[in-house]
Symmetry: C2
Subunit: 734 residues, 2 copies
C-alpha cells in the first residue's frame, strides 16, 4: 500500500515539483506567498503601490507589439534598450500572472520567450566590439546575465502555464544554450563564471536561477560550486572572498550596491530550494552584513562616491531587493524597515510583502548610522574604509577615510584620501567616475578616456600626490598587489573620533601617515576635522595636497594672483593635464585659510604653511576635448623640496547663510591658529587655537598602537600621561 | 443726556483709541483678531506651527541680554546682523504679548525700545560709506526703514502696556526723529521718500505705519500723499505708477517680491485705519493683481531669474505676508490658498488666521498658472514680459520672453531675451545678479563689480548681441528712455502659443524682431520652442546669438575644435572679457544641433546655419579675479558680416535619462531639418521636419498685427489663407 501511495504521489507530483520538491513559482514567490499577496491586495497601501507600479508596466507591455530585434546597438542604443525593456516587462508581466491568475499575462511571457527562442540560436557574438566579454543579446556578457536573471523569474512565474512542448523548445533553444554560453561559451565567459568578481556573480546567479527553474542539477551545482564543482570557484566561494569580514565589497559602495543584486536574489532562490545550505547564515551571516554595510556607506541616502562611482541612492531597485530579502531572512533587523520606509517601494515577492507588513505594523527602528571601520580584504587585513559621523540627522557631519586595497578594476589611486559631508551636502568631494551611463554618444555609455587620465589618478583625490605622479606610478598590477593599513581607529569618545592609516608602498622611499579626527568642542557649533598628514622620505619631493570643494569661494587670508586672461593646465600628465591653473599665492603667516560657502553654511580650511608653501587654486576641465568633465574647483597646498613634511589642517563648518530669510552669521573661521608642537616617530602633537581664546591639544601616537598601552610623553617640558593611541584635551583660556 | 454720554464715551475712549477710533493693536492684529487667535490656539495645527515658530524666536530673545550696539558694520557684519535680529525679535515678542497677555514679552519690547531711544539721538550717519543713502542704524537708509516697519508693529502690540512717560520718551527720541530722518533727514532721504521706487515704498510704509501707531496725522498724510501732501508723490501715487495695469513691477520678479512687502503690509494698516480709502480696490485692485502676478512670475515656486535676481521662492516671509493679506482682503481668491498651503507658514496676524482657517476648511483651488503677457509701464505701453506655459505640473514647460523697459537701476540690457524651464529644472538660464547678499567679504554683501561688467551686459543673455556691444551701448539713461515692444501674443491654441516682440532702438540702424512659439505636436512627447529671430540693418554687423544652458554636453552634429591646453577670453569688453573661449566649429549642413542632458531629460538646440556661421562654445569665468562668477557653459551661434539675418532655432526636450533605474531613451533630437521657406517684411515661414517624416509649417506675420485680420500669403506657389497673426499647420507625411 505504502509503495503504491508513493508511486501515486510521485505521479501526481512529478509534473509540478522539481528536484527540491518545490512547486513553481519558487525563486522569489512561493505558492503560499502568492496566496498571501492576493489576500493582501487593497489592504496594504504601501505594498499595493508597488504592485500597481508593476501592473502599470505589465499592462503597458501588453498593449504593445512584442519586438525582439536582432542585437545591433551599444549601451543606450535602440536594440540595447529594447532588450532591457523586454526583460523588465517579462519580469513584471510574469509576476502579475501569479498575482492575478489572468492568463493574458502568462501568454505574453510565453510569446516573448518563444521569440527569443527563435532568435537566440541565430546569434553570434554581439556586433559592437567594446568589451572583452561580448554577449549575444547585449554588447557585454554581463547584460546577457542580467537578462537571464529577469527571464528566469518570468519563466518561473509562468512555468506551469506553458505547454510542455513549448517549454522544451524554450529551454533547448534559449535557456540551456544561454546558460552554457554564460558559463562556458568561450574562454572569457568561462573565466568570468569562475572569477571572484561581481560580473561573475551575475553569471552564477543567472545560471543558478534558471537551473532551479528548469530543475537542472548540473547548472545549479556549477553555479554554487564553480564549473569544476569543487568549490574553488562559484557562488559559495564568492561569499568567502568577495566581502571582507565586515561585509565591505572591495570595489566600493557603488559596485557593492550593484553586486548585492545577484547576491541577495540568488541567495533567496538558494534558500527556497536548498534551505539546508543556510545561505543567509553562511560565514557569520555575511550577506546580512553586506546589506547593512552597503547602507552604512551612504550619506543622506546617497552612496559614497568612491572609486568608479556615479550618483546612486539606496532607493534603487537593487537595494529594494536587498533590504526586503535581508529583512525576510532576518526579521530581527528592524532597522532595515527604516530604509524600506525611505525607499517607499517593495520587491513584489514574498520578501516584499513581509517587509511591507512589518512596516505597517510599525515595527521600524531607526537605522543605526554610526562611525565604523570597514575592513577591506577577505580576511579583513587589507586596510579599510573608515566612516566618522557626528549627529544622526540628515544634516550630520560625515567623513570617509579610505585606506584600502586597490578595489579591482574599478579602483582608484586614492590612498589615504578623505571625503567630507555636512549639513546634507557633499563638501569635499571625490570625483567619482567619468562616465555617462547609457548615453551612447558618450563613448557608448562606458567609461570615457578621462576616467583613466583623470578620475583614477591620485591628484583627483583629497590626499597627497608626490612629484606629480600617482600612487604606484599608476601601475594597476602593483597597486593591486598592495594595500594601505589602518593603524588605529577609536570612536569611543564622541568629542574626538579618530582614524589613522598609513601607506608606505605607493611611492618608493616615501612613508605616509594620515590621522583624521572629528572633534566637537562646546565652543564650536559644529564638529571640525583635524587632519595630520605626515610624509617622510630620504629624498626631496614636491608634495601636492588638494582640497576639492563644492561651493563658492568667500574669502582667503592670503593674497593670490589669478590667471584672469589666460588659463593653462597645471601639468602635463597623471591627471595634472586636466587641471586649469587658476591662481597661486603665498603667505607669510604660519597658516593659510580658505573659506567657501555651500548651502546654508560656511566652510574654512585652515592649514599650516611655511614660506615655501604654494597655495594653488585650480579647476577641472583642461584637456577635455569632448566636454566629459565637471568643472569642480580646488584649493591645493603645494610643498616643494620636502623630505619630511607634515600637513596639519582644520576643516571647519561654521555660521549660517540663509538667503531665504536673508540672515548671515559667522562667515569667518573660528580657528585662530595651528601649532605643530612636536612631530616625531613616536607622536605628533597639535594645538588648535580658537578666536575666543580657547584651545585644545591633540596628540596622535605614530607607532606601536594599542588601545590599552599606557604612554608618557614629554611635551614642551610637561609630562603627559595617557592610555591608548591618542590624547585630546581642552586647554584652559590663557 | 446724549451729550453727557458722548463725553463719558470720549473720556473712556481717548486713552485707548486713536485718530481713527481704533484701539491698539491696529496694524496687523486687531483686538477682535487677537481674541480669535487666542481661541484658535491648539485647534488649527497649521497656524499653531507659525505661532510656535514665532514663540520660539520670542522665548529665545527673552533668554538673552538685550544688546543695542553702536552701528559699525556693513551687510553681514556683526552690528548689522544684531540690529536686524533685534527688529525680528521685537516683532516676534510684541506679537507674542498680544497672543498671550504675558507681560514679560511687553517688558522686553519696552526695554529694547528704551535702549534704542537712548542710542538714536547720539547717532550720526552710519560709518560705512557705500550707499548714497546712508542710514543711521544700518549702512543704507533702506534697512533703517525696514527696521522701523518691524518696530512699529512691535510698538503697536505693546503700546497700551508702556507707561505714557516712556511712550513719550520713545516717540520723541526714537520714532519721531526716525520718521523725520527717513522722510526729510537729508536731500537723499527726501528724494527717496518721494521717489517712485521700491526704496521709497519702504520709507513711506515705515513712516505711515509708525504714524498710525503714534496717531500722527501729519506723518500719515505725508506717507499717503507725499511730503507736500499733494498726491504727486507718496503711497497712493506709487500705486498708480509702480505697477503696470497687469500688476507687473518694472524691476522684475525678484524685486517685485521685495517691493510687495511694504506695499501689502502698509496697505493692510491703511485698510484698518482708513477703510474709506478702499485701498485694496484702488486702481482696479492693483495690489491684488500685483500679488497674483508676482506668483505667476515663478517656476516651481522659484521666481524667474530676471534683471538683478538671486534665488528666491514664493515661500519667503514677504510672500507669506502678501498672500495672507491679499486673501484676507479678497477671500474669493481661493487660488491663493494653494500658495499658502505650499508656503506652509502664516503671517501671525488677523490675515494669517483667516488664511489658515480657510485652508483647513479645504476651500483651496489650484493656483492658475497660465500663459500670460504682463505689460510693462504704468500705462502698460512699455513692452512686456510674456510667460508661455505648457502643462500644469511641477515639470511643466515654461518660456519667458522679455521685451520690457529697462527696469530702473536693477535692469539688464536684455532686450528680447528668453529663458526656458522644463521638467522642474532651469534649462536655458538668465545669469541673474552677481551678488553675495549679506556675505561681507564679497563686496560687503552688495553687487560685485562683475554685476555691471558681466551680468547686466547683453551677451550674458539669451538674445542677439550686435558687434560685441550691449543694447544702447550699455548707456543706462538711453536704455531707460526706451523700451521694447510686444508685437502680438496669442495663447489661444494650446498647440501653438506665440509671442512676438521687437526692439529697434538698442542698436543704431538695427531692427530686431523675435517670435517664439511653444508648439505641441502629437508626434513629440514634449512641447518644443520654435524661435525666429530677425535682424535687419543697412550696414554689416557681427551677430552673436547665445544659448546659455544648464547641463552636460552630450553630442553635436558638427565638428568643433576645443582649446584644451590654453584658454583665452572671447573678447575684451561688454561682458565678452568674462567668457572663456572653449571651442569653435563650423558645419556644412544647413543646421547645427547641440544636445545636452539636464536632470532626467535630453535637450537639443537645432539652429539654421550657413557656411559663415561660427559655432562657439564658451564658459563664464574669465577676468574674475575674486571668484565671483559661476562657470556656466554656453552654445553660441556667431553670424559675421550680416546685414539681414534670421536665426531660426528649435529647442527640443526629448527622451529619458533615468540613472537610478538605468533607463535611457531618445537621446537624439527628433528634428531632422529646418527650412526658412520665406522671410520678408510681411511674414516669415518656417518648415520644421521631424525624423519620423512628419513636419509642420509655422508662419508669423511681421507687420500690421491684429487678431482678426484676414491674410492671404503666397508661399512656394501655394496660397495660404488665415486670420490673425500667425499660421500653424501640420503637413502630411510626404
Amino acid at each position: 500500500m505504502k509503495k503504491i501511495a508513493l508511486i501515486i504521489f510521485l505521479i501526481i507530483l512529478i509534473p509540478f515539483a522539481n528536484l527540491f520538491g518545490l512547486e513553481h513559482p519558487g525563486l522569489f514567490l512561493s505558492p503560499k506567498g502568492v496566496k498571501e499577496i492576493r489576500a493582501s491586495l487593497g489592504k496594504y497601501p504601501n505594498f499595493d503601490k508597488s504592485v500597481n507600479e508593476l501592473k502599470a508596466i505589465a499592462d503597458q507591455a501588453l498593449k504593445e507589439k512584442i519586438e525582439v530585434p536582432v542585437p545591433k546597438d551599444g549601451g543606450g542604443g535602440y536594440t540595447h534598450e529594447k532588450h532591457k525593456n523586454n526583460y523588465y516587462e517579462m519580469n513584471a508581466v510574469g509576476t502579475l500572472y501569479q498575482l492575478t491568475g489572468n492568463e493574458k499575462y502568462a501568454q505574453f511571457v510565453r510569446n516573448m520567450l518563444m521569440k527569443y527562442a527563435a532568435l537566440y540560436p541565430t546569434l553570434g557574438l554581439h556586433p559592437v566590439i567594446k568589451s572583452e566579454a561580448r554577449g549575444k543579446i547585449f554588447w557585454q556578457t554581463l547584460n546577457d546575465a542580467v537578462w537571464l536573471v529577469h527571464a528566469a523569474n518570468a519563466y518561473d512565474c509562468v512555468y506551469n502555464f506553458i505547454a510542455e512542448s513549448d517549454r522544451t523548445l524554450i529551454e533547448n533553444n534559449l535557456f540551456k544554450p544561454m546558460a552554457e554560453f554564460l558559463s562556458n561559451g568561450n574562454e572569457s565567459n568561462y573565466e568570468t563564471f569562475n572569477k571572484m568578481h561581481n560580473h561573475g556573480t551575475w553569471s552564477l546567479a543567472a545560471v543558478g536561477m534558471i537551473g532551479y527553474v528548469m530543475n537542472d542539477k548540473d547548472l545549479i551545482d556549477k553555479a554554487l560550486y564553480g564549473s569544476k564543482k569543487d568549490g574553488n570557484t562559484g557562488f559559495i566561494r564568492q561569499l568567502n572572498v568577495l566581502f571582507s569580514p565586515d561585509g565591505y565589497y572591495t570595489e566600493g559602495p557603488y559596485y557593492q550596491r550593484y553586486a548585492l543584486w545577484p547576491f541577495v536574489t540568488f541567495a533567496q532562490a538558494i534558500q527556497n530550494h536548498q534551505p539546508e545550505l543556510k545561505i543567509f547564515s553562511y560565514r557569520d551571516s555575511i550577506l546580512q552584513k553586506a546589506v547593512i554595510t552597503s547602507i552604512q556607506c551612504a550619506y543622506n541616502g546617497k552612496f559614497f562616491f568612491l572609486n568608479d562611482a556615479l550618483p546612486k541612492t539606496y532607493k534603487t531597485q537593487e537595494l529594494v531587493y536587498a533590504v526586503d530579502i535581508a529583512y525576510k531572512n532576518n526579521p530581527n533587523q528592524k532597522q532595515l524597515l527604516d530604509i524600506a520606509a525611505q525607499q517607499g517601494t517593495f520587491f513584489v515577492s514574498d520578501a516584499g510583502l513581509i517587509t511591507a507588513r512589518a512596516l505597517l505594523q510599525k515595527q521600524t527602528k531607526p537605522f543605526d548610522f554610526h562611525s565604523v571601520l570597514l575592513r577591506d580584504g577577505k580576511n579583513g587585513d587589507k586596510g579599510g574604509l573608515a566612516i566618522l559621523r557626528d549627529g544622526r540627522d540628515d544634516n550630520q557631519t560625515c567623513l570617509t577615510f579610505k585606506a584600502t586595497s586597490h578595489g579591482l578594476s574599478h579602483g582608484h589611486y586614492d590612498k589615504l584620501s578623505i571625503v567630507l559631508y555636512d549639513n546634507g551636502n557633499c563638501i569635499l568631494p571625490d570625483y567619482g567616475a567619468v562616465r555617462f551611463l547609457n548615453i551612447e554618444p558618450k563613448n557608448g555609455g562606458g567609461y570615457t578616456k578621462e576616467n583613466h587620465s583623470w578620475a583614477v589618478q591620485t591628484i583627483a583625490h583629497n590626499t597627497v600626490t608626490v612629484d606629480e605622479k600617482s600612487d604606484f606610478n599608476g601601475d594597476f598590477k602593483i597597486s593591486s598587489a598592495n594595500h594601505s593599513d589602518i593603524l588605529y581607529s577609536d570612536f569611543s569618545n564622541p568629542n574626538a573620533q579618530v582614524i589613522s592609516g598609513s601607506e608606505n608602498n605607493a611611492y618608493n622611499g616615501v612613508e605616509m601617515q594620515r590621522t583624521s579626527a572629528m572633534i566637537r568642542t562646546k565652543e564650536l557649533e559644529f564638529p571640525i576635522i583635524l587632519d595630520i598628514f605626515r610624509v617622510k622620505s630620504t629624498e626631496s619631493h614636491t608634495l601636492d595636497f588638494p582640497f576639492y570643494y563644492y561651493g563658492q569661494e568667500v574669502m582667503t587670508d592670503f593674497n593670490y594672483s589669478k590667471n584672469t586672461t589666460e588659463l593653462k593646465p597645471l601639468g602635463t600628465k597623471n591627471g595634472y593635464q586636466h587641471l586649469w591653473f587658476e591662481a597661486t599665492g603665498k603667505t607669510d603667516k604660519p597658516t593659510a585659510c580658505f573659506t567657501f560657502v555651500n548651502g546654508t553654511r560656511f566652510y574654512s580650511i585652515t592649514t599650516l604653511t611655511n614660506p615655501e608653501s604654494e597655495l594653488i587654486l585650480t579647476r577641472i576641465g583642461a584637456n577635455d576635448p569632448n566636454f566629459n568633465l565637471r568643472n569642480d574647483p580646488c584649493f591645493m597646498v603645494r610643498q616643494p623640496n620636502a623630505t619630511k613634511h607634515t600637513f596639519v589642517s582644520v576643516i571647519e563648518p561654521h555660521g549660517l547663510y540663509d538667503l531665504s530669510r536673508e540672515v548671515t552669521s559667522d562667515f569667518e573661521t573660528n580657528i585662530k591658529g595651528l601649532e605643530l608642537l612636536n612631530d616625531n616617530e613616536d607622536f605628533s602633537a597639535v594645538k588648535v587655537l580658537m578666536k575666543d581664546g580657547s584651545s585644545f591639544l591633540f596628540i596622535t601616537t605614530n607607532k606601536e598602537f594599542g588601545q590599552n598601552i599606557k604612554r608618557t610623553i614629554e611635551l614642551n617640558g610637561n609630562t603627559i600621561n595617557f592610555t591608548g593611541n591618542y590624547y585630546f584635551t581642552k586647554i584652559n583660556n590663557e
